[in-house]
Symmetry: C2
Subunit: 393 residues, 2 copies
Amino acid sequence: MHDQQLATRASELKPSAVRELLKHSKLPGVISLGGGIPAPELFDREGLELAVSQVMSGNFNDAFQYGLSEGYSPLRQSVSELCRLRGVNCPAEEIYITSGSQQSLDIVARTLLDPGDVVVVERPTYLAALQVFQLAQANIQSVDTDDDGMLVEQLADLLTTTKVKMVYLVPTFGNPGGKTLSEERRARVVALAKEHGFIIIEDDPYGEINFTETRWKTLYQHAKELGCADQVIYTSTLSKILAPGLRIGWLVMPEWLAGKAIIVKQATDLHSNSMTQIVTAQYLALNRLPQQIALMREFYHKKGEILANALREKLGDHIEFSQPKGGMFLWARFRYEFDTTAWLSKTLANGVVYVPGEAFYNDAPDKRTLRLSYSTVSDADLVTAVERLAKSL
Amino acid sequence: MHDQQLATRASELKPSAVRELLKHSKLPGVISLGGGIPAPELFDREGLELAVSQVMSGNFNDAFQYGLSEGYSPLRQSVSELCRLRGVNCPAEEIYITSGSQQSLDIVARTLLDPGDVVVVERPTYLAALQVFQLAQANIQSVDTDDDGMLVEQLADLLTTTKVKMVYLVPTFGNPGGKTLSEERRARVVALAKEHGFIIIEDDPYGEINFTETRWKTLYQHAKELGCADQVIYTSTLSKILAPGLRIGWLVMPEWLAGKAIIVKQATDLHSNSMTQIVTAQYLALNRLPQQIALMREFYHKKGEILANALREKLGDHIEFSQPKGGMFLWARFRYEFDTTAWLSKTLANGVVYVPGEAFYNDAPDKRTLRLSYSTVSDADLVTAVERLAKSL
């Protein structure tokens, strides 16, 4: 009876499709290709136990006390080293610890966006980013993608008629598409940012989960070379490469933004979890992460191939897709008119779920698409899941 | 050079006075009566070590994996038991885990407040709540307080002319004033809520840190008796009674609000820290918290008395105050015209800091006031601090 008390921005919110889906995926016997969660068998139990035990004996008081909104200093230091290896060369003072990438996006949106500001995203894009921009009451505009990521010339066209505040990109092994922005387009989008004065959010959760030997320059690095690094906000997380339960992400922010963003962070939750920040700092100091990432690449690479091979064999006449080159997702599309949202109830009855592509579009959804995650499914179940999908046609 | 890119709400933000102050308080030799942080010697090291070790051996995968936005179910269950003992009788399904009280307030504000909505606070009130409501671009109105808390009849007057959306109260051992709302006023403010249809946020971080035998009914309980429990949002935290570094707070929300608030929570940070939620659940299952709270009461009670006695002796002719009956703060006021903000540089030079009362007012600050925290200062330093204050006059 009090629904009319809700704020405008809240009354328009809808539960995310993935969230609803996760309920189904817990049903016994159902194989879920839905979630985007890392495989728990890849958690570095030995390393995390060591880090936790060091914290409990050596950093007890700090781990359980209030901390700084900017983050735990030794963690900012280690993360800046991690960043440097990725081509994000910045001092520890420009690293701000957040409670995961989701919070990074939310803080940036709250610091930068007034209602109606134009935010450009890829079509399709990361679902939870759409939620953040919707909550900020932004005017979300989508630009199409192909196998080389965002069609940057389409963005250039949009810029001739529209004042764009921010462009949100997952340039490497994007979610859901698994696509990577080509080097040429990276340079171009940064040049457009410089010319038109918009901000780029470079969201990079999956860059390290690379199945190839190719490395791409970060947008941050392109911007640094072009002298406009103060227009790029780089964000990443340890959720995919270490453990999501730690809730540790970070932002690399230019000074003009950081001063206000840190007040927003403080108003939001004072600071990120002291205990898991310190555990993470201790873990990184063990220097086990590179070996973990190597294991992870091999593990997910193999899973991605098993899924791709099964799909080609059993569903190749029905769907098309590119073989994943990194990340956790395979993005597929029916070769003919098809509604993957409607199809879900049928596949669920046959014991398999996925995320209908529709969830990843701000507008004009391509209903032929679907996202399949291979990260947590056993090799045998990946094959069974595809058989169940084929049976559901 | 990009400052004009900031959102309106962000460009108006100012760093909190306390945050600035904390920098000074780390100077060697300075005694800080400024922070509101719990004494680390009260952290239950043995219990926390036990809980952490149980989690590492028994709940490893859950602790490091993604979790639910609502919170970890066994923790919601334990917290509902904690709530029941406080007179907040609700099922675990109405408990929502947050990353501390600060986030509880922010989520509620984002779900309920449109810019310009009227939020009524106590004068003075909790600084960080002001930050949240400012960030929500609310129209903040203050109602005066006396030793029995908010002057509820002043609120009643305001309601005759103003549409109030929400009233924010720290009814028990408030911050900064340390005041407790009388039972009669509790009943009255809830009756006003029912009559006028506004929402009450009952923020209760300090209720358990009670130096007396008196117990007050929660506003939630009053509302339940009056049949309007769906207008009260109760929030509390383990930061003061267990450990702030865990970042575990909670909200008790009526159904009409919870559905949307949980989507806001998800957009904000997906979910609170898995690891520390599970550690907290394990800790609570050890049933050590009641004994901890008993220790804490005694410890802070003694500190409060030492500070009050020293103040009476050395500064009694200059300031007036009520002896703290609970919580972590002593709120004092000069007996004559005085500017405690200006005074701070002088006391800092003499090696003692406090929070000038000004920081806790949304408008019309009483510059004679100051907040003194006794929670983390040794008994001897409390006396020395007061001597240094006296020397600074």
